[in-house]
Each structure stands twice: as C-alpha cells, then as structure tokens.
C-alpha cells in the first residue's frame, strides 16, 4: 500500500512536470464530460417541463375514445363511436368518476367584428372546466342549464380574443362560428403553450349540445369522453371501472378485446417521458463519442510519453522496478489525467447549464446521475485507453530501453 502511494506520487509528478501537455490532453476529456452532462441535463430539463405542463392539466384525467388503428397511413376507427348512450350510462353508474364531460371538436372559422381566425371549437359540458381545471379571466362559464337547452354561448381563449376583439372586452358580444352566431360569455385565463407545444389559448369552448345540433351535422357520437377520477390515487380504480362498464354496455365477450381506448394522464406522462428519454439517450450517446475521442487523445499522448521516456523506464527497470510497477505508474498517470479532466468537465458542465439558464430562462437541472455518468465514463476511458500504453511501457526490455536514444 505504501509502495502504491509512492508510485502514485511518481505518476503525479510526471503529470505535473508536463503541465501544458497534461492540460491539453485533458481538454478532450473536459469537453467530453461537459458535453455529456449538458446534453443529459438538457434532456432532463425538457422532460421536467413537459411533465409539469401535463400535470397542469390535472393528473387525475381520463380520456375515453373509440379504438383506432393505424392502417395504410390513416387512422381507422375500429369500434362503435363513443356516444350519448355511453355518457348517460357512465354518469349514472360511475362511482370513481364524479365529473364526466363529452368532447366534440371541430375545426372552424371564427369571425368577430374586428377579425377572424381558424381555430378549434370544443363542445363540452359544464364539467369540462372542472376536469381541465381551467379558470375564467372575465365573465363566466356557461351553466349546466345552458348545456341542456343548447344555448349559443361560448367561452373563448386569449388568442381568439386578440384576433377577434383586439384590445376590447369581448363579454356579451357576438361571434360567428361558421354560420351560427354565438354570444361570448367568458374569457379563459391565459395558459401559454401546452406539453406538445400547442397553443392552449387558441380555443373556443361551447355547450356540446349546441355544437352537435348546429355545427356537427349528421355524425353521431363524440370525439371522446373526458372524466376526472375522484383523486389521483383512484385513477386506476376509475380506469378499471370505466373499462368494466363500457365492456358490459357494449356487450363485449370476455375473450374479445375492448372496442375503446382509455388514456390516463399518467400514461400520457409516461409516453412523453419515453420520447424525451429516448432523446436524452440519443444526445448523451452523441456526446459520449467526444469522450471516446478524448480517450484516444489520452492514449496518443501516453504512447508518445512512453516512447519519450523509454530510457527512464529502462532505468527504473534496472534499479529494480517490476513490470507491474511500471504498468501501475503509467495506468495511474492515464487515470489521473482523465479523472482530473472529468472533474473539470463536471464543473464546466454545471457552469454551462447555469449560463444557458441565465441566457434563455430554460431551467436545466444538473442531473446527479449525469455527473456520475460523466465521472465514471472518464475513469473508464482512463483505464481503457491508458492500459495499452502502460502495457507497452511495462513490456519494454530493460537492455534495449537503456540503450534507446
């Protein structure tokens, strides 16, 4: 152990003697580790942001849709559409889903006194506002009764207000959606962009009855039914309940598959988590290539160093160093180079994340595991790329090494 410490000291001294060279050698590792940390952290930051936005929708959300399959490039509806029968049945029987709203969405042209905009109008029931936890900025939501009597009321998002009523109070005024006149009763509080980058304020919400009667034409059924579970803990109960009720009411044999899809917010989070996770791995892999290049840099310099110090190695062997002593010395040199480089790289990566945060406001948490990966990788690179030169040094014949000019 004492001898190991001495050999460690020898290795450290020879690094110190060639400071400029050592620093340049480390540069590859520094950049590699910093790149790995920054890309992994950026991926983590993106995941965090997306997940925050999704959970902003309410993590106890369930969406019930007709099953679709992707065939020949288009989505084909596989089962019967989700319709009023399903809605009534669920509203009557569901225990774990206190709030249920249908949703019919149509792309429309909305025309106001001062402008027009292509947008999506969502036909929903009053529960929708509760389920999505959207708040009202001005005016009020339409009521349960308004839905029942199919009033031509609507609530609009901020983006719509800007286009149709620039700088004006829209409450009580009328807009034309396709050929139907609607009265604006409320303005939604601004929410910004959603988890997938869509504009959450480019939206018109109206009673689904009105939309179905006036705009939806002959098509029956809903795009989907939205429901919120009693609480986040009961989202699985709610999913099971909805599945059982719908299978029963659709008369599906026990051996057959569901003709509907239930998506929960948790699943949505998992899906986006997977996407950003794959992205992180991809970026990390690209960054780790630079680490490997850095490792080759170390190997290159170590090989030069072995050749340059052939006589020194010969002398050490002659005065009684064993092959393993020489191997250890050069291996330690390579590992110390890459570990010191790794440490500096970690610091640079951390600083880099802070700079990006300051410059763009995009918060990047420096993931602990990215530091461990960066550090571990650099140690591994040191061993892997240091071994060959160290082995070469240890295998030198002392007589030839002493004669080397």
């Amino acid at each position: 152990m004492k001898r190991f410490f001495k050999i460690f000291n020898v290795a450290f001294q020879s690094i110190n003697k060639n400071r400029t060279r050592s620093l340049l050698t480390m540069l590859g590792i520094i950049i590699g580790v910093a790149a790995v940390i920054m890309t992994i952290s950026a991926g983590e930051g993106a995941t965090l942001q997306v997940q925050n936005q999704i959970s902003g929708l309410g993590t106890n959300l369930l969406m019930i849709q007709t099953k679709t399959e992707h065939k020949a490039g288009i989505n084909v509806r596989m089962g019967r559409p989700i319709d009023k029968k399903d809605l009534d049945m669920l509203q009557k029987n569901a225990v774990w889903m206190p709030k249920i709203s249908p949703l019919v969405a149509i792309g429309v042209q909305a025309i106001g006194p001062n402008g027009y905009k292509s947008t999506t109008v969502y036909g929903v029931s009053y529960d929708y506002f509760y389920i999505t936890s959207r708040a009202i900025e001005l005016g009020e939501f339409f009521t349960e009764d308004d839905v029942k009597t199919a009033k031509k009321y609507c609530v609009i998002g901020e983006t719509i207000r800007e286009e149709l009523f620039p700088g004006q109070d829209p409450i009580g005024r009328q807009i034309r959606i396709d050929k139907v006149l609607f009265t604006v009763v409320g303005l939604l509080t601004q929410e910004g962009s959603g988890g997938m980058g869509q504009d959450m304020d480019d939206i018109i919400v109206a009673p689904y009855t009105t939309i179905q009667n006036r705009l939806y034409g002959q098509q029956r059924g809903y795009n989907l039914i939205m429901a919120s579970a009693l609480s986040e803990d009961h989202i699985v109960d709610a999913e099971i309940e909805a599945t059982e009720l719908l299978r029963e009411s659709h008369r599906i044999n026990p051996d057959d598959e569901d003709d509907f899809d239930i998506t929960t917010q948790i699943e949505l989070q998992e899906i986006t988590g997977n996407i950003t996770g794959i992205l992180t791995i991809l970026l990390g892999a690209v960054a780790s290539i630079s680490l490997i290049v850095g490792g080759i840099g170390i190997m290159n310099i170590m090989l030069v160093s072995v050749t340059e110090r052939t006589r020194e190695i010969g002398t050490r062997l002659a005065i009684g160093a064993r092959e393993s002593d020489i191997l250890t010395q050069f291996l330690i040199e390579a590992i110390v180079l890459s570990l010191v480089g790794g440490t500096i790289g970690v610091i640079f990566g951390f600083i880099g994340n802070q700079i990006i945060f300051k410059a763009t406001g995009f918060f990047i948490p420096t993931a602990m595991y990215s530091i461990l990966i960066g550090f571990g990788f650099s140690a591994l690179v040191g061993v892997a790329f240091g071994y060959f030169p160290a082995q070469k040094a240890a295998k030198l014949n002392p007589i030839d090494a002493l004669r080397y000019e």
Binding site: R3, R311, T315, A318, G320, D325
Partner: protein, 254 residues
C-alpha cells in the same frame, strides 16, 4: 571473517540467435569476484563486455552455465525475482547517468527505495541524504538534474547506486561522457568507496581509468584472455600529474 564470493560464474555462455545466424557473445566464462574487490573489465567493442555486464546485472540471462550472485542462484529466478535482486543486491551506474530530468538530486537518489519490497528502509530521505554526502554532494541535495555538471550528475547516479546498500556496484563506462579531469575524480571516488568495503565491477575502455582498480579482466571475442591483479595502481594525484604533461612525454604507468 573469510570474504565470501559476490560473483561466481561457471561456464557462462550467451548465444544470440538472429534467424539462422548464431552469435556467440560469451563462451565459457569462469569468474569469481570476492567481497571488497574492485575489478575493471576491458575489451574492444564487440568483445562481449556489455553482455557480461547485463548478465551479472541480472538484466539478461545466460544461455548456458551457472551464475551465483551473493549466494543467490540467479538462473532459477523468475522475472519479478530478478527485479527484486536488482533492487536489493545491485547498484547500477550508467555512461549517460540516466537520471530523471527536472527532478532533485535527492529524489533521484531515493528512486530505488520506491521499488523496495523487503521493507528494509523506512527513512528513504535520510538514506538518500547520507548517500549524497558520501559522494561529496551534501550541498547539492535540492538541485535539479539540469542544474548540475556532468561530473556532479554522475556522482548523483553513484549515490543512487549506493542508497540501497547493494552487494555489488556495477558501472558501465562510468566516465564515457566526462572530460579527463572529471573522469579522474569519479575513478578516485570509486577507490574511496572500495576502501570503505564496496565491491565494484567497472566496464571501461579507457586504460588510465581501468588502472585505478585492483584487478583487470580482459575480454576478447567473448572469452576471458587475461585476469590479473593490477600491480601498479593509479592514484588521483598521479593521474592528474599525467594530465598536465604534454602528449609526447606521456608514458603508460604499467
């Protein structure tokens, strides 16, 4: 106390095989060197003196024959044991010093102790200082290699060869890179160390340096052709006086 044998070789041979060609570098070397001897080995280049030094120094192995160093049968040792024997029993001195550059004299001298596995030495720094005092460099302990003259560098190398208290000091052309005056100083240092009881084997091709030893072995074509005590040993004073003389008046002290 009877002086024991530091080196004993019996019918030592070394053959280098280079494809179909066999080169007989050493043939049938029988040589005994006792404790406290100071031996010069001379011979033209290609006479096999370097090969002999490498085998004696446990850097190379004989093709045939027996070699015993300070009671250890070297033939039976493996690579690691050879390294340990070099570390414990031999002090090497090279023609080109082979010191670590940009390193202090003290650190250079302490170098063999790093590789010591016997645990004999606990105070490496003290021992290194003592060795440097022995070669007359007490005031250069913290000088770096590049701040020392050739003669001083060779003294550091000699101190390095002394630090592990070896049974044998092996010098390979120790004055080959030095001027005449520095060479005489080094040769005189060997005489002093020998007087203190060190066993020294020195390879040289300079007759006036070889003349400082007690015994001379002459090699030719891988064989010992003469092995005699030196009757008329040179001294520092004599050698320096010889140096002053014009070339025409120089006469061989033998």
């Amino acid at each position: 106390m009877p002086k024991h044998h530091v080196i004993e070789t019996t019918n030592l041979s070394r053959v280098f095989k280079n494809g179909p060609i066999e080169v007989h570098a050493l043939t049938g070397i029988n040589m005994t060197i006792k404790q406290g001897e100071f031996v010069s080995i001379m011979g033209a280049s290609g006479s096999g003196k370097s090969t002999l030094l490498h085998i004696i120094g446990c850097l190379d192995r004989a093709t045939a024959g027996e070699y015993e160093l300070d009671g250890v049968r070297v033939n039976a040792l493996n690579k690691n044991e050879l390294a340990d024997v070099r570390n414990q029993k031999i002090g090497f001195i090279f023609q080109s010093y082979n010191l670590l550059s940009r390193t202090t004299a003290l650190e250079n001298v302490a170098l063999p102790l790093i590789y010591d596995r016997s645990g004999r030495f606990s105070n490496a720094k003290e021992l290194a200082k003592k060795a440097l005092e022995q070669v007359g460099l007490a005031d250069r302990i913290y000088h770096k290699t590049n701040e020392l003259s050739g003669g001083q560098q060779q003294r550091v190398a000699i101190a390095r060869a002394l630090v592990n208290n070896p049974a044998l000091i092996l010098a390979d052309e120790p004055t080959g890179n030095l001027d005449s005056k520095a060479s005489i100083e080094i040769a005189d240092l060997f005489v002093q160390l020998n007087n203190e009881g060190k066993t020294i084997v020195m390879i040289t091709h300079e007759p006036e340096i070889a003349q400082f030893a007690k015994r001379m072995i002459y090699l030719r074509d891988g064989q010992i052709i003469s092995d005699e005590p030196i009757k008329n040993r040179s001294t520092k004073a004599f050698a320096l006086r010889e140096l002053e003389k014009p070339a025409s008046l120089k006469n061989n002290p033998v």
